[in-house]
């Protein structure tokens, strides 16, 4: 081959590579954590608010200026206004066992495990409608376009029309699916039977990537935020970080003696809670501890991040507690 041909050859290849690179960049990139400069420095944590909602408070979700929580054993939903001094509104009795809440698309969606149904609640009028019938739903999640519900009994993911509840089930490649979060265009589903986390591609409407097995069998909960999926690992006293694109797994240590069973994430912090009612936070990038743990109550069921802090539900004394960085 002459020199001129070789030059043409290489130029063509480089041109193609350049075009290709642009095509790839169209794909959603991993969202970087908020730059360190925008995050407050490490500081002690304090209890900012404590609201009584009734014994057995567990799952929570934040919708605009309201925090919603449920008491699965009592079949009750309670909302807490967040505008001024947080206050609980009248409970909404729905019956059944509301074990999961999700806010999105202008509604609160509820998985009622014992009555095999998905409910939609209008947060303004308080009206509750039965949206779909699903066997033993244990988790609901809302994306910008769809409602997802997980059936523990069928081992199936239901992608539902948020308005009509119509949808078809899809088998989940995991044993006893119990939890799910949305991150990076995927719905990440935790298999309670095998401790694996499987990504469901929302755009392709299929499981197109193999999942990740957690380093320990016990997984407290999973959460999404700061461009990653996080799993609380109580027996390892750590939290696992899954990179959505590469599926690589990193482990960040909790503080000494802290066995996280709950996790919530915002741009600046990974919030961890343990069943003794303690809350702590660590830096999502470095894993550095951001202050000492604080006791939010006598027990802790779930965490949800909100406005730089985190809400913790305490089923024992029936409160929800907001923990904020001091200052």
């Amino acid at each position: 081959m002459t020199q001129r041909r070789w030059v043409a050859f290489v130029v063509a290849a480089l041109l193609l590579a350049g075009c290709g690179d642009r095509a790839v960049r169209g794909a959603p990139a991993i969202e970087s954590p908020v730059p360190a400069a925008a995050c407050p420095p490490a500081s002690p944590l304090r209890i900012d608010a404590r609201v009584r909602v009734g014994r057995g408070a567990g799952p929570m979700t934040v919708a605009g200026d309201r925090l919603w929580t449920s008491r699965p054993a009592a079949g009750v939903l309670v909302s807490v206004g967040l505008r001024a001094t947080p206050r609980a509104a009248r409970p909404v009795r729905i019956g059944g066992a509301p074990v999961s809440l999700a806010a999105g698309l202008g509604s609160i969606y509820v998985a009622d495990r014992d009555r095999d149904r998905i409910l939609r609640l209008d947060p303004v009028t308080g009206k509750v409608v039965r949206l779909a019938a699903i066997q033993s739903p244990v988790k609901v999640a809302v994306s910008q376009a769809a409602l997802f519900a997980i059936s523990l009994d069928d081992g199936a993911l239901h992608r539902l029309d948020p308005l009509t509840g119509v949808g078809t089930p899809l088998a989940i490649p995991a044993l006893a699916p119990i939890d799910a979060v949305l991150e990076g265009g995927d719905l990440w589903i935790l298999g309670g039977g095998d401790g694996g986390v499987s990504p469901f591609d929302e755009r392709r409407n299929a499981f197109v990537r193999a999942g990740v097995r957690m380093p320990t069998r016990v997984v407290g909960a999973i959460a999404a935020g700061a461009g990653a999926v996080w799993a609380a690992l109580p027996t390892a006293r750590a939290v696992a970080r899954i990179e959505p694109q590469t599926l690589s797994l990193g482990v960040l240590r909790a503080s000494r003696g802290f066995a996280p069973t709950a996790v919530a994430v915002d741009g600046c912090s990974v919030w961890l809670g343990d069943s003794d009612g303690r809350v702590e936070r660590i830096d999502p990038a470095s894993g550095r501890m951001l202050g000492r743990p604080v006791r939010s109550g006598t027990a802790l069921a779930a965490l949800v991040a909100d406005r730089g802090g985190v809400w913790a539900s305490d089923p024992s004394d029936g409160t929800v507690v907001r923990v904020m960085p001091a200052g």
Binding site: L16, V24, A27, D154, G192, T261
Partner: protein, 705 residues
């Protein structure tokens, strides 16, 4: 030589296909139809959904095996038969190549490549594609013959071959319109390009018109009849019914969203399955022939290849998007493989400038590949139905990922890198076969040899994955078929048996267990479902257990199959046999109405206890007595906390703690008079994170104390 290649192909397929020990869901229908056709020999059965399926050539070909032998033996013989059928496609590919290529030696090369194409993996399943593939290849050969050397006999043979292929697989009916369009385009196209050399364009067009009206008179007549019949069906509104099960493919959106992406992905993975070059050269040949074909037969082939490729890929993509969740299963498009294999040789040996032809085709293919966006999780199933795609995703894409990492950006699309690699390879090869290049013949031979080796390697790799699986997924040949016909053996294949199906584990697991009973045992003729959704292949009529313990299943036979770990009821009757995996048991109900010895209400189908409402167990009986209730209990392994179960009633007041990661079996002694009623209540700590996952009852059994 061709015989040896058929033997090679069939032998390769048989080596792996005969190791298969499991089945795909579609096989249930085709094997049942084969049994029906064996019992009542005809060209078509209306049983087992046969009235909805016109394509019954494959079940008809299996009928002798299923007529003479039991399901297990017939299954084994069918896989030998599959290997032979798939291997036999070498013959029509060779004949097609002989029609297109000037030299016999190049036709042998085409036959050799056809003998090792990755889609031989289809012989692992009892699916219609197995017979439709060779039938389609025969149709393509007949069509090429009729195009290049028209006569009424050739037309008749082509129409008959298309009809047989359509009987094999309905989608191949598209070859009918393709044939008509190819005849017209070839005659006119040849007149306007290559054929115009001798007497000018006007004269060539006159000759083309004469050939169309005189030599293709049979085709013209058949086309007219087909148009009249189709119009009548459309007017009468019966076109969709005429197509039976597949009739709804004629409805829906004409060009649904995602169709082109799906077609592109299909073509991309076909290309990867064949080592890209056959597709590149076929596309290049089509482009070259549109301007100036070298010979009439080559022009005819280019037209045939173009229309066949477009028609099959686009119709399949449309159906995929509308009905199959936009999946890419190459088994639906592999019928174009004979055309692509011959296209490789035609591009190399029959085009005016093979190097230019390659560059033209490679440019198109590289663009298609680079902009493809599709993936699945590789598994044995995917290797069976889409070996090109799965081999790419499991083998090639990770290597391209290493290249991306070496380039400093691991996020670069593997498809883009694949497109770049295709361009680079095409440039190199084009340099090697350009006019005047040294050792051009050697390079040409090396190209064919490398395609052969690539296909053979991909085929062996894919077959190995189909049969043996990998560390990540199970193969389809890992188990044993011995004893799978346990129901037929226990009561005889002619004795009707009903399934009383409850959910066993998760829905997908349950479906595997119940359909296996139906697949291997022809005595199973009906199914009743006690859980939702039904997980049987037979229409599972939903039924329930009355308060008095009677099962509402009036037409159930004396012999009933129930889950060995049935959670909702224990059936009265003597056990005759158990399935090899121990999941199912065959019960002789004694010809009386089905009755439950005990029932359990208030648990989910998979055995999960509710949070609030206790489950109730009712044990039928008379007089004062005691029963032993065995419960196998489990908590999700990943749960952080233990759960507890309280059992009350029947003299019981016992709490059992169940820890995660330990399935626990408890033995409860319940006593009382008359019907015993027990309450089983689960409690979950308030701090439990997976609060919805209570306690799962894995199995329940009751016996007299």
């Amino acid at each position: 030589m061709v015989g040896a290649l058929v033997a090679l192909s069939a032998g390769l397929a048989a080596f792996f296909a005969t190791k298969i020990t499991t089945f795909q869901p579609d096989e249930l229908g085709y094997t049942h139809m084969a049994i029906a056709l064996a019992g009542d020999p005809s060209l078509r059965t209306s049983e087992f959904g046969g009235s909805e399926r016109l394509n019954q050539l494959y079940p008809l070909s299996l009928a002798p095996f299923y007529g003479l032998f039991g399901n297990v033996t017939a299954f084994a013989l069918a896989h030998w038969w599959n290997a032979l059928l798939m291997g036999s496609a070498v013959i029509p590919v060779y004949l097609l190549a002989r029609e297109v290529l000037a030299r016999r030696s190049t036709a042998y090369m085409a036959a050799a490549v056809a003998a090792v194409v990755p889609w031989l993996t289809l012989s692992s399943g009892q699916l219609t594609e197995v017979i439709a593939y060779p039938a389609g290849a025969w149709a393509l050969f007949a069509m090429q013959r009729a195009l290049a050397a028209p006569s009424w006999r050739a037309d008749l043979l082509a129409i008959a071959a298309i009809a047989v292929a359509t009987y094999g697989r309905l989608q191949l009916g598209i070859l009918g319109p393709v044939f008509v369009a190819a005849v017209v385009l070839h005659e006119l196209g040849w007149a306007l390009t290559g054929g115009a050399v001798a007497g000018g364009r006007a004269d060539a067009l006159r000759r083309a018109r004469r050939r169309l009206l005189r030599d293709h008179v049979v085709l013209a007549g058949a086309t007219a009849i087909a148009l009249v019949v189709t119009t009548a069906l459309v007017v009468a509104g019966g076109l969709q019914q005429a197509f039976g099960y597949y009739g709804n493919t004629l409805g829906g959106q004409l060009l649904p969203d995602g169709m082109w992406r799906n077609a592109q992905a299909n073509l991309t993975f076909l290309a990867f399955g064949l080592g890209v070059l056959p597709v590149a050269w076929t596309v290049g040949l089509i482009l070259e022939s549109a301007v100036a074909a070298r010979a009439r037969r080559v022009h005819a082939f280019a037209i045939l290849a173009c229309l066949t490729l477009a028609a099959i890929v686009i119709t399949v993509a449309r159906v995929n998007v509308i009905f199959n969740g936009a999946e890419v299963q190459e088994r639906y498009v592999m019928f174009v493989v004979p055309v692509l294999v011959v296209g490789l040789l035609a591009g190399l040996f029959e085009s005016r400038r093979p190097a230019i032809t390659l560059l033209l085709g490679a440019g198109v293919v590289a663009a298609l590949v680079a902009t493809t966006d599709f993936r699945v999780i590789p598994s044995s199933f995917w290797f069976l139905v889409s070996p090109g795609m799965t081999a790419y995703l499991e083998v090639i894409a990770p290597r391209l990922g290493q290249v991306a990492a070496a380039l400093g950006d691991p996020g670069i699309s593997r498809f883009v890198l694949g497109g770049v690699a295709i361009v680079l390879a095409a440039l190199l090869l084009a340099a090697g076969i350009r006019p005047g290049a040294r050792r051009r013949k050697l390079v040409t031979s090396a190209i064919v040899a490398s395609v052969f080796l690539f296909c053979a390697t991909t085929t062996v790799y894919s077959f190995d994955r189909v049969v043996h699986g990998s560390a990540e997924y199970k193969g389809l040949g890992g188990s044993s078929v011995a004893g799978q016909d346990w129901i037929d053996r226990a009561v005889g294949a002619d004795t009707p048996v009903s399934l009383l199906a409850t959910q066993i584990g998760q829905v997908s697991d349950s479906r595997e267990v119940w359909t296996a009973a139906e697949f291997w045992n022809r005595s199973v003729t009906a199914a009743y479902a006690l859980s939702e959704p039904a997980t049987t292949w037979h229409d599972g009529r939903f039924t329930e257990v009355g308060r008095d313990g009677r099962v509402v299943a009036r037409e159930a036979s004396r012999y009933v199959v129930v889950a060995a770990r049935a959670l909702s009821l224990g059936l009265v009757g003597g056990e005759l046999a158990r399935s090899p995996d121990g999941e199912l048991r065959l019960v002789d109900a004694g010809g009386r109405r089905l009755r439950a010895a005990w029932t359990l209400r208030g648990v989910s189908d998979a055995g999960w206890l509710r949070l609030q409402r206790p489950a109730t167990m009712t044990i039928a009986g008379r007089g004062t007595r005691c029963s032993i209730v065995r419960l196998e209990l489990a908590v999700p392994r990943s749960a952080a906390e233990s759960r507890s179960l309280h059992a009350g009633g029947g003299g019981l007041d016992r709490t059992v703690v169940v820890h995660p990661r330990e399935a626990r079996t408890v033995r409860l002694r319940a006593c009382g008079s008359g019907t015993l009623r027990l309450r089983l209540a689960a409690s979950v700590p308030a701090t439990a994170t997976a609060v919805g996952a209570t306690i799962q009852l894995r199995s329940v059994s009751v016996e007299a104390a």
